[in-house]
Amino acid sequence: MTKPRLPGLLRSASLAALAAVLLAGTPDAGAAAQTAGADSISEIRIGLLSQTPEPPPSVANPDEPAADDGLAGATLAIADNNTTGKFLKQAFLLDSVEVPPDGDAAAALRELAGRGDRFVIVDAPGTTVEALSKLPEARNLLLLNANAPDDALRGGACAANLVHVAPSRAMLADALGQYLVKKRWPRWFLVTGRRPEDKLYADAIRRTAKRFGAQIVAEKEWTADSDVNRTAESEIPVFTQAKAYDVLIVADEVGEFGDYLSYRTADPRPVAGTQGLVPTVWHRTHEQWGAAQLQSRFKAAAKRPMTARDHNDWTAVRVVGEAAARTRSADPDRLIAFIQSPDFTMSAFRGAPLSLRPWDGQLRQPVLLAADRSVVSVSPQEGFLHPRTELDSLGYDQPETLCKTRGKTTP
């Protein structure tokens, strides 16, 4: 059912691009050309290991993801890194590998490591991320989790060689919950899908309710296996009869039924969560803090708007690029140490600087709250204070972390 996103297993599309940069760049690269020859350019290789789970057959998804969803973001970030790199005599290469849903991710990682990739972006489900982080071959690498929102990866399954560029479910739920509480919509009706990840999303929403003083006044599980597309108009009004609530929060990560809730609920209430008002890292209408520039740069390159998955992969590649520029080094050990240090910050078009939480390896970041065609708000919301940074009001803070194996150093 899933189309292979790329021809072949491994590609180094950017090798050709890099060669072009090196050749073309030399005459007009100014400082680089002036002070040193092209032979002193140091190379930084980044691997991208992608795995897209097969969507369940019943999902009627009107927006089929692009074949290069994610990869296009990483490719743009490599170009961005190389633009900076030409002034610092650094060249970035991307090795991209697509693992089929039932494929051997460990073999793919070994192949990337064998090519000398010390940084590997893992754009894959949480189970793959966890398995890869435990491989002996991964011990020397820095894995950048660019997709899996599982809090367990940041908690009990955390690892010193694993950092999380994608926000966790707890961060997404907190971002949404802060806004709903600020709006004084504190009574939530939680509707959960049948998949394990939906249960995890619902757990995150419950945690958020407890933290910010909201109440889950009703809960239901969506178990219907009929074609919701045909039956929604009759089923959903009955299904959504609940005691008085302000917002229906839906936990349906694959999009099986969540899109059918709006306008069909028994009471006239907004829908939020995995559908409706959605917490996300990126949205095609986001334009603040220079985001319009990234949007137009991406659109020119990929011929489509940037998705959240593209943005996560872009950010992951930029983390490495920013570290290389700041340290003026291509030494992977030095870059890995710098990325994990309190000195590391970078800009990602969402206002506040991004940095890494040392206690669980999570990248601190603002979260957008997006409707279909607009960004409604950006969390953390004003008033949710934190002594260190307001960004730490999203997700697991240092005292609550379940990660035991990472350093206890304060940021």
């Binding site: 520039q293 800009s347 600087p353």
Partner: protein, 325 residues
Amino acid sequence: MTAARFTGISLAALATALLASAASAQTIYVSNEKDNTLSVIDGKTMAVTDTIKVGKRPRGITLSKDSTQLFICASDDHAVQVLDLASRKIVHNLPSGEDPEQFALSPDGKSLIIANEDSNIVTVVDVSSRKVAFQVDVGVEPEGMDVSPDGRWGVNTSETTSMVHWIDMEKRQVVDNTLVGPRPRYAQFTKDGSQLWVSSEIGGTVSVIDTATRKVTKVVDFHIKGVAKDRIQPVGVKLTDDGRYAFVALGPANHVAVVDAKTFEVKDYLLVGRRVWQLALTPDQKTLYTTNGVSGDVSVIDVDALKVTKTVKVGRYPWGVAVKG
């Protein structure tokens, strides 16, 4: 019908402006990024006397050397427009390259050097022949621009690359690069050209660079009680000619920092409108104007008293500001 009425109104406005300018001789121009207009403020009455329709997404604006024209970066029209200030009409466009955002006029008034944000290029345009003199490659998202007082250096900051690129204007190429804090937004040389001040929006700092060595010699940090560190996002910088102060617009922190330009200590923080962006000083250096993007207004600061004296409502998302003396 409409055209005739429009002319009538702007004639009247023009007459008022002429009368007013005789008295105050100061006019403030503000570009409204989301209205595609310029607001014209009378420096004496502090009232908006006219609103001029310009190109799409006007951002950086600057006066010509003889102060008869205003150059406007119409970013979404991919042009620099030239507004004749007497007639308040766009007389022509200059070729600017893609998505011009900010620019600087060379001290001799002959060239504009323009940051082309979407294409990682700086375009240098000859103002009189209206031709592109040359283009140079810079880092990702070029933004801040200035030219040294002796005309030797054109500088550009690139936001995602986080560098100052030093363009040798004679050699027409980038000959040096200085790494600064994340997301550098604005660059200004001191009057004597010995230092370049550069703001870093995400770094939350201002770097002072020695022009002779192109090395950062001082980093100015900001702390405002009750404002989270990551909301302090420096953007516009203005240095007084006498070397006394540097004013730094702190974006969503809604304050302008007053920095002692000799000791680099922050003397004060002045509360202005929301998301303060760019700054302009009057030629007599007595008044500083700020554009406040989110609140859609301009704050007026008395430089000697270091007090905000007035707020003037303008259009949506005021961005650039220029003062005609």
